[in-house]
């Protein structure tokens, strides 16, 4: 018997598999495909203080081994999420969920987190300071150590739940931002968000995506995720949730060896809606293949 349990700042998960925000809605669409209670947890759709339509379409473009998206944090706003989406989610998912929070000012991040702090089914807050697809917010907090520090500090002041700051790979030195978050009291770090990219339509001779740029995700970015998780693991003492192009149980183990405690699966859900269940089913066999009996023992094992 193998043990797949991991713990994120006191939040015990049956396994490290967490569908990433923006690829799993509020869970109930995915519950049409399988019983999502097999998951460790999932990170729900990025939620902001006010309702947002997001960017105009087209928002999606294909890339070699991946995709670009520029959804732009479409969500009904935190009040409606709490009043309408989470009750629907709670009917199909009976574990603690990860609340993903976006924002456009320090105050807004704090207000949204404070509201979600009051929700029982929320086990952890994942604060997205790295969305590449919104203007005047999101990524601007995740590319500046001082701003990342301020958001972290403000959020920590309004919640007792663990706070994980979700970082952008679109920076010169991600360890500097991670250290700033740790210094401000973050309980953990989530990484990586998407990498900014572009595709051009040869017929129209213009960018495919209306927003022009979009965030690159999918297996194309997996080695970047492994590298950045490895670097941040050495830079901070707090636990990491690793993500970026994960598609298989082998990828999960690789990211954990690099230093991840939890592993999020993003774009793969859009192509194979049952991929997270399949990974969870495959984990024991793959663990045995690599002589792993206790998954938590391998965290950071490659260092």
């Amino acid at each position: 018997m193998v043990n797949t349990k991991v713990t994120l700042s006191g939040l015990e998960l049956d396994n490290p598999i967490i569908p990433a925000s923006g690829t799993f809605g509020f869970g109930y669409e995915m519950a049409e495909f399988y019983d999502i209670n097999v998951l460790g947890s999932f990170s729900f759709k990025g939620t902001t203080a006010e309702p947002r339509f997001g960017n105009p379409t087209p928002r999606i473009a294909e890339t070699p081994c991946g995709m670009l998206n520029a959804v732009g944090l479409q969500n009904p706003g935190v009040d409606k999420v709490i009043a309408e989406e989470l009750p629907k989610m709670e009917k199909v998912f009976h574990k603690k969920v990860i609340a993903n929070v976006g924002g456009f000012s320090v105050k807004e991040y704090a207000e949204t987190c404070e509201k979600l702090d009051a929700v029982d089914s929320v086990g952890l807050l994942e604060v997205n300071i790295s969305c590449p697809n919104v203007h005047g917010g999101g990524i601007s907090f995740g590319t500046d150590a001082k701003a990342a520090y301020e958001v972290t500090k403000a959020v920590k002041a309004v919640t007792k739940k663990p706070v994980y700051m979700k970082l952008s790979p679109n920076v010169t030195d991600i360890t500097e931002i991670a250290r700033a978050c740790e210094a401000a009291g973050a309980d953990g770090i989530s990484l990586i968000n998407t990498l900014m990219g572009m595709r051009i339509d040869l017929r129209r001779k213009a960018p495919i995506i209306k927003n022009k740029t979009g965030g690159l995700s999918g297996p194309a970015i997996f080695p970047i995720a492994v590298r950045m998780v490895y670097q941040v693991y050495e830079a901070v003492k707090i636990p990491l949730i690793g993500m970026g192009g994960v598609q298989s149980a082998e990828d999960v183990i690789e990211l954990m060896l690099a230093g991840a405690t939890g592993v999020e699966v993003g774009a793969a859900n859009l192509v194979s809606p049952t991929v997270c269940r399949d990974i969870i089913n495959d984990l024991p066999t793959v663990m045995e293949k690599y002589n792993i009996t206790n998954l938590a023992d391998i965290i950071g094992g490659a260092h």
């Binding site: 799993f24 809605g25 669409e29 049409e32 339509f53 959804v71 859900n269 809606p273």
Partner: protein, 243 residues
């Protein structure tokens, strides 16, 4: 809505760049106006293709080879297994048709109307079908619609078949209709919107991430709120559309 393996029975060219693929696979949840999302080796995103017909355990898709995905599909032979998510989207509401519905299709917007016509005719409705193409070599399914018992009018932009002009020119020959169902390129849909006097339903196309509502990559604004083309659509009713 399930992920399963379909097997290609046949795959043949029926008009310029246009192919008809027949597959064996599940019927569960199949309805006119819904679509399937197909995994293609070597490409990351699935390819959404609307249902043309389903009968006797066989799904028919008619698609145009216009990009990497559909060009790869065009080369697939009988016996090839395909990983398919089926059936997605809301589909047309045939209960609203009235006695004499009009179906208007342009180019690759024609296929989803076939199963629609078939069901409506089986219910005893008097169906008129308007088909729009650029030129004669692109025309497909005219005889198939006629064989169902529909009145068929064709419009071609160059006048090589039927009425010279657009579907809206052919629509002028239709004296009365109770409701309409349409699918085609957006400029055509917009023209149909302006040229119709009754209520009706429009099937839209958009670049999708998932096809089942999770990524909200295909959201559009409507008078009834934000709608995901893949999940809350692809069919929208006339009254809710904002151009």
């Amino acid at each position: 809505m399930t992920e399963s393996i379909f097997t290609i029975i046949s795959n043949e060219k029926i008009a310029k760049n246009t192919y008809k693929m027949v597959l064996s696979g599940t019927a569960e949840g199949c309805a006119p106006g819904k679509f399937v999302n197909i995994k293609i080796d070597g490409l990351f995103l699935r390819r959404p293709i609307s249902v043309c017909d389903y009968e006797d355990g066989k799904l028919t898709l008619v698609y145009k080879a216009v990009g990497k995905g559909t060009e790869a599909m065009a080369k697939m032979g009988a016996g090839t297994p395909l990983n398919v998510l089926a059936y997605l989207g809301n589909g047309y509401d045939l209960t609203k048709s009235g006695e004499a519905p009009m179906l208007i299709g342009g180019g690759v917007g024609v296929p989803p109307l076939y199963m629609c016509a078939k069901k409506l005719i089986a219910e005893g409705k008097k169906v008129t079908v308007i088909l729009g193409f650029n030129t004669a070599e692109e025309v497909f399914y005219k005889e198939e619609f006629e064989a169902l018992g529909a009145r068929v009018l064709v419009a071609t932009a160059d006048g090589s078949v039927g009425v010279k002009g657009f579907v809206t020119n052919a629509m002028e020959e239709v004296e009365g209709y109770s409701y309409f169902y349409t699918c085609g390129p957006e400029p055509m849909l917009k023209a149909v919107y302006g040229a119709t006097s009754t209520s009706g339903e429009f099937s839209f196309e958009e670049r999708m991430g998932c096809g089942f509502g999770a990524c909200v990559g295909c959201t559009c604004k409507t008078k009834y709120g934000n709608k995901r083309i893949c999940k809350d659509g692809p069919v929208l009713v006339k009254e809710e559309i904002i151009w």
